[in-house]
Symmetry: C2
Subunit: 206 residues, 2 copies
């Protein structure tokens, strides 16, 4: 059985770091930004545009069910987001076919449902998310707390809307996941042995 772990996360919760460290500890690849890079490269898009389709500008989004549930007349203005969505699905499926892996974001838990992945949601309280955003801010970026809070809300709203166009399951609701991990005030690194143990137990009987 292929052991696939998907990570969904609140912005600033450390979910990306958790995915990477968990994959390293398990000795399997972690796919995160690589997916955006591949979509961009294969379709001639700018990476920022691809990231935005799923996180920032819901206005630029599209019916992801297209091609699955109903036919749709050609709509040039929607072509690009649809191409992103189709490419994302193909790339995520190809990664899964290659074997065990951790995939961060990209609705991988929904795309790969038939693989029965272990779906983890990572979250934290607002103070912890702001602190993490500040700690990892690129040099020269000095956003105020209020600006960071606005960015966190904006990205999470984007992720929620993107997911809910894609699937009937709700972003961030525990029912959509197998394990929800609150990282408030915690160091991600210290949680990894426990999450490795969780994955072992979970795949041992799933």
């Amino acid at each position: 059985m292929t052991r696939i772990i998907t990570i969904n996360r609140e912005f600033g919760s450390g979910g990306r770091e958790l995915g990477k460290r968990l994959a390293d500890a398990l000795g399997i690849p972690c796919y995160d930004h690589e997916i955006i890079q591949m979509i961009a490269r294969e379709n001639g898009f700018d990476e920022r545009y691809v990231a935005n389709v799923s996180e920032r500008s819901i206005e630029a989004a599209y019916p992801l069910t297209i091609g699955h549930r109903f036919a749709m007349p050609s709509m040039p203005v929607m072509d690009q987001p649809i191409r992103v969505a189709v490419a994302q699905r193909q790339i995520v499926e190809n990664f899964a076919k290659q074997g065990d892996c951790v995939i961060v974001g990209r609705c991988a838990d929904v795309i790969l449902k038939e693989y029965h992945p272990l779906n983890i949601f990572v979250y934290a309280d607002l103070d912890s998310k702001v602190a993490r955003c500040q700690a990892r801010a690129p040099e020269g970026e000095n956003l105020t707390r209020r600006e960071l809070e606005r960015r966190i809300r904006q990205v999470e709203r984007g992720r929620r809307q993107f997911r809910e166009m894609y699937t009937e399951s709700k972003w961030g609701r525990k029912e959509s996941y197998d394990l929800c991990v609150n990282t408030s005030g915690l160091e991600i690194k210290a949680l990894i042995p426990a999450l490795v143990a969780y994955a072992d137990c979970w795949f041992g009987q799933a």
Copy 2:
């Protein structure tokens, strides 16, 4: 530092079993039905009545903030539920003072906030909860699926209402807990090593 783990759970999710097994694995006591028995014994109540105050009949409930935030004139009709609440708080606090333990239900996560407990929420999908209720039903109890679903909804509504009279945090919302564990289709026993590891990591840095 006292290591206290609190378990809140959906009805039929296996949360009680999880708490008991986790406590056994950690070599610490688990308090569950003992709390109801002590409240009943010390106040001359029937155990079923005590259980109902927190799980079934919200109409019989009371302002749990009484004595903390505002004074209230004597209201004989409300005396008994208040005595249950006060006794519950005292008993839960006494258990915590005695040392490391697992406490199932009883709003222990809120009562013991100052002890910084590891707060776990256990949940499952409806099919799994119905199946668990059927498997553990007392001999002679042959409820239909519809009756079991109604009981699950009723108990969970009671727990939600009880908690929300007691605290500002929401029952079952992941933000109220440190870890949320979905037991759908899983054997509780097999998850215990992972949860022991989680507790070790968590208390190691909390």
